[in-house]
Subunit: 337 residues, 2 copies
């Protein structure tokens, strides 16, 4: 327990989450029990003979995005279109990280400044509709209100037909191999480019990174195959090391990560310090999972990047045979200042 | 259709909602069809042989509440406790307004400034838990993030067992009586007191109004009886006239409201212009419903306040026999400046 007078920026997101979790322990519905609560990518409840999966994601102006990014994407309308895609992608990635889940409905909460134009909202809803069509999601409701800063709060609801195909964070086993479905770090680089940090990079490459941030490929379909074999799974939206850390903490295990096996995009490799992005950058939506099966020839497009070890061996990073120190200050935390 | 360059403050909430609704018309799930979508108090979907009801409400700093209200309620921790109650009450009122719905789960989205103290969050969760215990709701998930202003986004999920007991806004019939479950205007007066507008009012009465705002009595149980007889129903959170207006618009009818029959609290009656609060004040959670039955002796604690008439007779207010003009400028709209 920590001092109640502590401010959030000293507590950090994960400790806050531990704190909040205590309020959510009570089970109140014997008929419709919760199978998974706060602490995983999404919540799961059992209703009759199937499972409903719920996730909520917030996207907030000046925290997750800036209005001035309009310039880099071709105008404010396009930014709204992009934001719609990004927020829904974050939500659907949470469902994917739970295993074989079919998305059904979403609710859209919007806080909007009164001086926004109706065409901005139209672009936002065009973006939602574009995404929803692709993944067969129905927008069923929401709330819209005034707010000095734009914020987007999306709740996505999916359905699963078998508990067997729901994969939690907490069941990684010693000896499991750690897999990832694709490259990390590109979205974080995209954010820096949107913030105008790399003026000398050519615009084709800039746009490639920006698209990686706004239009990540979500692994909903691939997750159906993965969930047949995985002991544990998480999406890497909080960064690769952070995400593996969460799996380890919840599963009470340690991990070795082999950096030379971690996939990196050709564009990101062009930057000197690319490994910092790969290991600590957030906002990518690849799946990280562990399994005791050798899946290389069973599931295409996955990369084996490490293995689960005993808890007392902690998380260790290796580059070929050299151990690399984890840069704790780079670990993604929404609340740390 | 309106000019896309129009700003939100010129468009208004209801026209914006009409606009958004078009994006939500597509039905995508034949197996799990949506029965009610955007435009009612909550969304309803059919899954197998029962109905799930979803609602989302936003509560935003400097729009719905102010940090400086702490002084009037006994400190910032207490304000957080109160806010938790208020936001969940708004959500449960939305479920009540759909008929016989049993609340099950909620998801909590929170935007928080980094300088908040952990004890504030604790108070907020104590407030949530206090309310959830009373109505048997489980907190199953959410998202917490940094934000310069505090905002709260709650999604509440309930279950209904019969379509018969789901009551929509759009089915008011000519000849229906209009009923309300209690007094309106007190919450709006409470907000003005919180904003320090009535320095001469004694503190006991001040606290009474403040409690009316933060701890409204929600009519979840009463709604079970009402839903057996009602043709249409809405909660009055946007104000009495506004809410009846929405029923009329969606049902394609008009209404007569008899102001001398509308219930008013003794405390509110002490103010000269109390009728303005009763008719146009928002944030109360009474139910307004219409029925062709005489319910006075069947359902306790309801007030017959008017009747549904033909559309071309519009909404008209009467005080005894005199017609009173509707003050359009007082009609509640989150977006109008």
């Amino acid at each position: 327990m920590f001092d109640k007078k502590l401010k959030l920026n000293k507590v950090g997101e994960y400790r806050l989450l531990d704190y909040i979790t205590r309020y959510c322990l009570k089970k109140r519905h014997l008929l419709y029990p919760t199978i998974v609560k706060i602490g995983d990518d999404a919540a799961v409840v059992k209703i009759k003979n199937f499972y409903l999966v719920f996730t909520t994601d917030l996207f907030i102006e000046d925290i997750h995005f800036k209005k001035k990014w309009s310039k880099s994407v071709g105008g404010i309308n396009r930014l709204f279109f992009y934001l719609a895609n990004k927020t829904l992608a974050a939500n659907i990635s949470d469902l994917s990280a739970m295993g074989t889940v079919k998305p059904l409905y979403c609710l859209i909460g919007l806080g909007l400044p009164s001086n926004l134009k109706i065409e901005n909202i139209k672009s936002f809803y065009n973006g939602l509709e574009n995404f929803c069509k692709k993944y067969n999601i129905e927008i069923i409701g929401g709330d819209t209100n005034l707010s000095s800063k734009i914020f987007i709060s999306i709740t996505l609801i999916g359905i699963a037909y078998s508990k067997k195909n729901i994969v939690l964070r907490k069941n990684a086993k010693i000896g499991d191999k750690i897999y990832i479905t694709g490259c990390t770090g590109d979205a974080a680089k995209g954010v820096e480019i949107l913030n105008n940090k790399f003026k000398n990079v050519n615009s084709k490459i800039k746009n490639w990174f920006i698209k990686k941030f706004f239009f990540p490929e979500v692994k909903l379909e691939q997750s159906q195959k993965i969930s047949k074999y995985a002991n544990s799974m998480i999406d890497c939206s909080d960064g690769l090391v952070n995400s593996i850390n969460i799996i380890c903490k919840q599963s009470n295990v340690g991990a070795k990560i082999y950096l030379d096996k971690v996939p990196v995009s050709d564009n990101l490799k062009k930057f000197n310090n690319y490994l910092d992005y790969v290991l600590y950058g957030g906002e990518d939506y690849e799946l990280i999972f562990t399994s005791n099966c050798n899946l290389k020839n069973i599931i295409p497009d996955i990369f084996e990047i490490g293995e689960i070890v005993q808890k007392n061996k902690k998380i260790k990073l290796f580059f070929y045979n050299d151990e690399i120190k984890i840069k704790n200050r780079l670990l993604f935390d929404h609340f740390k200042s």
